[in-house]
């Protein structure tokens, strides 16, 4: 059963087509990821779904309601974390979480929401004295305290240190375990691969791939990737004709060769480099990732 259904969603700002005909569905109990570079339309999509802005056209259902015609019904059944989430500067963490708890019909306990994001020690600190990462965690706590059926998280781990990021991943997986649906946007590929049951990859307001991360990678790559940096070779198209190479991506001084026969390609590559007297650095062999999928479809990396 899907608890978010989006069909042909459009939102233009003047000439800018922020979201341009987007369709996808989110099943209940899933962690669903929306993936894309900055400016791809992720935040605009989220804002249309949570009833913060009105779409231009298309149909949207969130927990059985239309956020355009019945925004309050949608808002009371979901939890939301926004990217630009500011707080009352002179209220403490606990006071703000308590305030937000009062907005929802069936909220979490205030202290539970605070401890889920690990802010117990800062519970009595005014928000103007919090660091960027702590504010980010508070804004996630505000999404959690709503105890909604779907939790929308817009780039929740941006600005967090690796430790806090991993802790939040645990929280998100915990939400899934307790039967909630999580909708998150991110431009961290490893985050999406690690957490998401299903992703939609978007670019310039359009969906360019939909499916589970593993499925998408399998669909686009039966090969593995050889990635390296060098100084002289990049313009040399003969790299792509090395044995086993099916595709080549070259940008500035980094080259990625996709190969179904790694040993053969590796041998040939090293031989070739020696012949050409070129230096190769940062040589890695890895399985393909969502980043590779994005690169293959758009020719660009997600993070510039």
């Amino acid at each position: 059963m899907e608890c978010v259904a989006v069909e042909n969603l459009r939102k233009y700002y003047g000439q800018v087509r922020a979201v341009d005909g987007l369709s996808f569905e989110v099943d209940q109990g899933q962690i669903f990821g929306m993936l894309g570079p900055n400016g791809a339309g992720k935040t605009t999509t989220v804002e249309c779904l949570i009833g913060l802005i009105e779409r231009d056209s298309g149909t949207v259902r969130v927990v059985g309601e239309d956020p355009k015609t019945n925004p309050v019904a949608v808002k009371s059944k979901i939890g939301v974390q926004l990217q630009t989430a500011a707080m009352f500067p002179r209220l403490t963490v606990r006071e703000i979480v308590r305030l937000y708890a009062s907005f929802y019909p069936n909220p979490l306990k205030v202290d539970d929401a605070i401890s889920l994001v690990g802010l117990e020690e800062k519970a009595n600190t005014q928000t103007r004295n919090l660091s960027g990462g702590q504010l980010q965690r508070l804004s996630v706590a505000l999404a959690l305290v709503a105890n909604g059926e779907v939790v929308f998280l817009d780039e929740p781990t941006t600005g967090m240190d690796p430790q806090a990021r991993r802790a939040l991943w645990d929280v998100i997986e915990g939400m899934k375990a307790s039967g909630k649906t999580v909708f998150l946007t991110t431009h961290y590929m490893e985050e999406a691969e690690r957490l998401c049951d299903s992703v939609v990859v978007i670019d310039q307001g359009k969906a360019i791939a939909i499916g589970s991360p593993a499925q998408l990678i399998r669909e686009h790559f039966s090969e593995q990737a050889i990635e390296f940096s060098h100084s002289q070779l990049s313009s040399d198209e003969s790299l792509s004709s090395l044995p086993g190479v099916t595709r080549m991506q070259a940008e500035e001084d980094t080259v990625i060769l996709y190969s179904a026969e790694i040993p053969k390609t590796m041998g040939a590559l090293l031989h070739y480099a020696q012949e050409a007297n070129a230096e190769i650095s940062g040589l890695t062999v890895r399985t393909a990732t969502l980043e590779d999928v994005f690169l293959k479809i758009t020719g660009r990396r997600i993070r510039e």
Partner: protein
Amino acid sequence: MSMFRQLVVATVKDMVRDRMTLFWFLAFPVIFIFIFGFIWSGIDGGPQSYDIGLVVKDSSPLGQGVKAAFESVPVFKLFTGSEEEELDALSRGHRVAVVVVPEMDMATLMAGTPTEVLIYYDASEQATARIMVSSISEILSEVERRMTGAAKLIETRPLTIQVEQFRSIDYLLPGILSMALMQLGLFGTFGFVELREKKIIRRLGATPLRRSMMLWAEVLIRLVMALVQCVVIVAVGTVFFHVRVVGNWLHILGTVILGAATFISLGYFLVSFARTNESAQGLIQVVQFPMMFMSGIFFPVELMPGFLRPIMSAIPLTYLGDALRHFMLRLPSEFGIERDLSILAVWLLVALFFAIKRFRWD
């Protein structure tokens, strides 16, 4: 309604913890009362006395008689320096009047040639001067009557009726309250601009809370603060400066609410033109500062130069001050109380209309 209550509690906490807010809303008007109070009233509030310079050049019993007559007046504090000293003291504002009694020659007097007694006074202190000149003349004619033994044909019999006496501080207190209400309304909207600029309103927009509720919470808090201000200002005036607030409290509070609502609406209208907190501050200052001094809340209208009168009579603060003066002190209002209240009401409706029309949530 727990949502609304929590929102009010949160907004109040956020506001009260900002020391600048407290300063502007409570400390600033109170400081004003103390400054004006010390300048214009004298903190003791006891019986006033008048410093009079008395220069008697005549050493005859006649001169001594004049001197004794002045000494018998309890509210006169006499200084008997030389003529130069006393006139100098007068010109520096240390005397309200200087009386110079010349040498008197009995023979000339008996021949019916009057002697000139000179009374110097500061013409800019009109009210005091008028009282002084007439009471000094009265004393002198009493002296003269005794000398000539003329029968008193008209006897004055002083009777008292209850008249409230108003000093400058009494006059100013309603003005200070009006100023405080204006600042509450205008500066109070900064809070909203801050919420808007910091996208706090946007974030709250993603919750089931209705946005209008935020605005109602703010307005409610401002109105309560207006009443608090009113009570504090009246209390400080009463306790420290013995200002007698004699009006009907319902009328006073009603006017306070009307004034506060007018300036709150005006504030929201003004900040609809500003994007950032800084530009809002500039805009509000540009409006509130001239309004404060051109409104006649601190000076009587007569002191206002003629070319400023049209501005003064357009400013809502003028009418709020006048109405409060009327209701707090039972003074006859300058423009007519119906006119005061209806002009304020028109300002409220117009400002409210445009504030709603131009309102921006983000």
